[in-house]
């Protein structure tokens, strides 16, 4: 019974057990001896309850005591406490935020049931190599139909295509993203609507729509009776039959309405008219690679069967999860690497801080040990202190993460069916807590173990003479790690900065300043008549041009960098037909003055004019590269080509525009008069973007332009109001966002490692002040002493810079996809980063060096 009681006593803190354990056992033994047998059993049972309760009470009392003590000591060392909390917060915050985003995009399953069996397919190169991601083109309905009927790997396959539509009625007309889906699509995704139903194969749903939760809330106020309501989309009436849940996005987050995609027999005629996407769910037990192999053999068969259209056409097949540009993946991995660097750095910094503090407190701890404080109590107290520090840091860090996650939202690829903003979820928070606890315990234990060991009177005997030694080396290594990490971050963000500079230095081909743009997409069938459309354009342009400060205005089918497609084939008489897919040209229908408004230089010939009507000769203005491709070295004016079954004569040549964005190669361009559009061309080709060149403030114009548009057609919505500079900025937005994130991390890293160098040197100087005092007393030049300290700092920095440079080169090689116009080993960037690191080391060692120079030999010696 006694051993049982002794075991029970283990619940108490060791200090209490040492003090009273024997007494308590004795008392218990005596009580047992005095009691009868059933009484003894009662005593044991009671002891279980009593000792558990009392042990907890003793622990609690100690905790309160330690917390009070910690609050006092930290209040006394406020600088240390604040630095430690801030450093922890930075490490935890940056990592939580980065992990939230990376987890959201790369790891977390898409919000569909069994998302791994969802795949997308589109046209890829015939040569295979349909890597992990990327469509060369969309699918043509005929190719989609054949793939769907011939393949056996899928339990379901559906097609969709996206666009935008004008919603009229219920307030301001709005332009919304709409996706036309075949009846298979929504059921195969596996998400049930929150209200109503989705399209079924048996129903006639040509005039039905399913709406997003967001639209239900914003446009219909979350009305539970929304089913059956009629809405006007581009002039036609549609009935709402269902509402999707809030977390449902497909295919992208911009899509707010789904209607039924019905393919008519004539849609299957042209295998080169590619405009639909396909989404499929793998059959049960079918491996992804198996399905890919099947599709590739089907594509091979189709290119044999339809050589004139499919000779170059293969299939690109990838998981829905991977539907993002590889650049996003690389960026998120780079971000993860960067925050890991920062975490390492902050850990090193924190360890250094705690080590320095432990060394400074060695005497205090030794005194307390000498006065009878048990080793266990001292260790426990130190752990409490560092846990308090890291908990405070962790809480601040999580708050920091919550604030900074929105900054990362531009790193979420727009092509994934996800919300823009990752939220901090419980798992991420748990991870942050784990980080915090590990850092706190790890670095709280390190110094406290040593403190625990020093129970003898060494520390009391220690004087300032005993600097250096092993712990100094540990601290020096930690500082070296910090420098290495900051060099990596400096170099990689330096490379990204130079990439952005290179991209921004590219001439877009137009002058974006002082150009306002907005979209007025004319709904069909209301505007089926080309003349009616042109009346709209002419009236709007004429009145806008009359506004004060406006120099010119024009309409175009699509702004460069916004609409990057519209690629068609061109036939030139007497020349071999080039394949549309690899040698197409981008085309736009424009109204007069488009080039003048956009600042695109007219090189030869003339602009499109209002007299270029359907009844006159059909003409085109082409870009310089277009002329160079088809008529190298010749005068292109007066030459003809065939486009969409019409022969056009070249009447002008303009400069090339970066239609696909600054970083990509763009197809040669042609511009066609708005009035010379072939009969039956879909509405998507109509000019819809109004561009206005003005001399003043664009904002002032917007309301005037709105009034003009409403006066011409009061049901016409206006959307996408922005300046051309904003359009251009959007093209580099992802790059700049990436840069901001990495740049901030690098700046923090430099600051922290500077602080690290400063801390170590300042400590060294204070430890060596006696030695320095003696040197000075013996006639050493103060300047030389100062140089010695600075040299120490630079040596520390160099030890970090050398491995840092190698790691940075390896990291840069890994992120080549993010670099533009710059080699991963760019010497200038490396030199600049190393220079900055050295500068930081100099700055860090300046104050300690100055203190060393000012050491007064007399006062130091007197203090001894």
């Amino acid at each position: 019974m006694i051993p049982l009681y002794r075991a029970l006593l283990r619940l108490y803190p060791a200090s209490f057990r040492l003090e009273y354990g024997d007494e308590m056992t004795e008392v218990f033994a005596q009580a047992c001896a005095d009691a009868s047998l059933p009484g003894r059993i009662g005593l044991v049972l009671r002891a279980f309850g009593d000792e558990t309760f009392n042990a907890a009470a003793v622990h609690w009392a100690i905790l309160i005591q330690d917390l009070r003590y910690t609050a006092r000591t930290l209040n006394r060392a406020r600088g240390f406490a604040l630095t430690a909390i801030l450093v922890t917060a930075l490490g935890v915050g940056a990592n939580t935020a980065a992990f939230s985003v990376a987890d959201f995009v790369l790891l977390r399953p898409l919000p569909f049931p069994d998302p791994d069996s969802l795949a997308m397919l589109c046209e890829g190169p015939r040569t295979g190599g349909g890597g992990t991601w990327g469509c060369m083109n969309e699918l043509s309905p005929a190719n989609y139909r054949d793939l769907k009927t011939m393949s056996a790997s899928f339990q379901a396959m559906g097609a969709y295509w996206g666009g935008a539509i004008n919603l009229v009625g219920g307030g301001e007309p709005r332009r919304l993203g709409i996706t036309s889906v075949t009846p298979e699509v929504l059921p195969l995704l596996g998400v049930a609507p929150v209200l109503g139903r989705v399209f079924g194969p048996a129903d006639d749903d040509r005039n039905s729509i399913v709406i997003s939760y967001g639209l239900w809330q914003s446009q219909f106020g979350g009305d539970p009776d929304v089913l059956g309501r009629k809405v006007n989309l581009d002039g036609a009436a549609y009935t709402i039959i269902g509402v999707m849940p809030a977390t449902f996005y497909f295919p992208e987050r911009t899509s707010q309405i789904w209607n039924e995609l019905t393919l008519k027999p004539q849609d299957f005629e042209d295998r080169t008219n590619t405009y639909i996407h396909a989404v499929a769910r793998l059959g049960p037990g079918v491996a992804f690679e198996h399905a890919r192999a099947e599709l590739e053999s089907l594509a091979a068969r189709m290119s044999r069967d339809y050589p004139e259209t499919n000779a170059e056409t293969g299939v690109s097949f990838f998981r829905m999860r991977d539907n993002m540009s590889p650049r996003f993946r690389v960026m998120l991995i780079a971000l993860g690497g960067a925050t890991l660097c920062l975490l390492l750095l902050t850990c090193a910094n924190l360890a250094n801080l705690l080590l320095a503090r432990a060394t400074a407190r060695e005497r205090e701890l030794a005194v307390r040990a000498a006065l009878g404080a048990g080793k266990e109590r001292l260790v426990r107290q130190l752990i409490t202190e560092s846990v308090i520090l890291t908990v405070l840091g962790g809480v601040t860090g999580v708050a920091l993460a919550a604030v900074s996650v929105p900054l990362f939202s531009s790193l979420v690829p727009p092509t994934l069916p996800l919300a823009t903003q990752p939220s901090l979820d419980l798992r991420v928070l748990a991870l942050a807590v784990a980080f915090t606890a590990l850092t706190g315990l790890g670095f709280g234990l390190l110094p406290s173990l040593r403190a625990g060991r020093r129970t003898e009177f060494d520390a009391l005997r220690d004087t300032t003479r005993a600097g250096g030694g092993r712990k100094q080396r540990v601290r020096a290594i930690l500082v070296t790690v910090e420098v290495a990490m900051s060099v990596i971050l400096l170099i990689t963000s330096g490379l990204l900065i130079r990439s952005v500079w290179h991209v921004q230095a590219i001439d877009p081909g137009f002058v974006p300043q002082h150009v306002l743009t907005l979209t007025t997409a004319l709904p069909r069938p209301k505007y089926d008549d080309a003349v009616r459309r042109n009346q709209f354009y002419e009236r709007v342009v004429a009145e806008v041009r009359g506004l004060p400060g406006v120099q010119s205005a024009a309409f175009t089918t699509g702004l460069p960098m916004v609409i990057t497609g519209l690629i068609t084939g061109v036939e030139v008489p007497g020349q071999e037909v080039r394949p549309r897919r690899s040698a197409g040209a981008s085309h736009r229908w424009v109204t007069p003055d488009y080039f003048k408004t956009m600042g695109i230089p007219l090189r030869r010939g003339r602009d499109v004019e209002n007299s270029d009507t359907a009844q006159r000769q059909w003409v085109a203005v082409v870009s310089a590269s277009f002329a160079e491709r088809y008529w190298p070295g010749q005068d292109p004016i007066g030459k003809t080509f065939r486009h969409l079954d019409h022969t056009r004569t070249v009447v002008g040549v303009v400069g090339d525009v970066k239609v696909r964005g600054l970083e990509r190669t763009s197809e040669p361009q042609m511009y066609l008069p708005a009035l010379q559009a072939p009969e039956g061309l879909p509405g998507g080709f109509d000019p819809k973007d109004l561009v206005i060149r003005h001399s003043g403030q664009g904002d002032a114009l917007v309301s005037a332009v709105r009034q003009i548009v409403h006066a011409v057609d009061k049901e016409q919505p206006i959307s996408n109001v922005r300046t051309m500079e904003e359009v251009l900025a959007t093209d580099t937005a992802t790059r700049r966002a990436q840069l901001q994130v990495l740049g901030v991390l690098a700046a923090v890293a430099v600051l922290l490692s500077g602080v690290g160098i400063y801390g170590l040197l300042a400590y060294t100087v204070s430890q060596r002040s006696l030695e320095i005092g003696v040197r000075l007393a013996l006639g050493a030049e103060p300047a030389r002493v100062g140089r010695m300290i600075v040299a120490d700092g630079l040596r520390l920095a160099l030890f970090g810079i050398v491995p840092g440079v190698f790691c940075a080169y390896a990291a840069a090689r890994g992120m080549t996809a993010l670099l533009f116009g710059i080699a991963p080993g760019d010497p200038a960037t490396f030199a600049a980063a190393v220079g900055l690191a050295l500068l930081m080391a100099l700055a860090g060692s300046f104050l300690p060096a100055r203190r060393a120079v000012r050491v007064s030999p007399m006062s130091v010696l007197r203090a001894e």
Binding site: F16, Y20, M24, E51, N54
Partner: protein, 120 residues
């Protein structure tokens, strides 16, 4: 340890276990088991302190300076292997103050009962 009135008041009311331990020590120095037996006897077996409660309370009373561990206990037949505890003057003041507080409380309660109507 000072024993000003404020210091005394700050410790009131005493937990029951602490008060009983102080009462047990008024008669003279005593060891742990002795205290348990004394308390049990005085309360007629109603309160039997467990070793955990006893020593946890003793630790706090020592910290607060209400009791101390004498080098040599005053009892004639002291067992040298045991640890004895002694009431300090401050502890005595606190125990007295607690007694006054409880007396006052009981007096108040009696008064309430006396003036209460029969029906209650």
């Amino acid at each position: 340890m000072t024993d000003g009135q404020d210091d005394v008041d700050a410790l009131l009311p005493l937990p029951a276990a602490a008060f009983h331990i102080l009462l047990a020590l008024i008669a003279g120095d005593c060891h742990g088991y002795g205290i348990i037996q004394d308390v049990e006897a005085r309360t007629g077996g109603a309160l039997r302190l467990s070793p955990g409660t006893l020593y946890r309370t003793i630790q706090r009373l020592l910290e607060q300076g209400l009791i101390e561990e004498p080098r040599r206990p005053t009892r004639a037949k002291a067992d040298p292997r045991r640890r004895y505890y002694r009431l300090t003057p401050f502890g005595s003041a606190v125990a007295r103050a607690e007694t006054r507080r409880l007396t006052e409380l009981v007096r108040l309660a009696r008064h309430v009962w006396r003036v209460a109507p029969e029906s209650s």
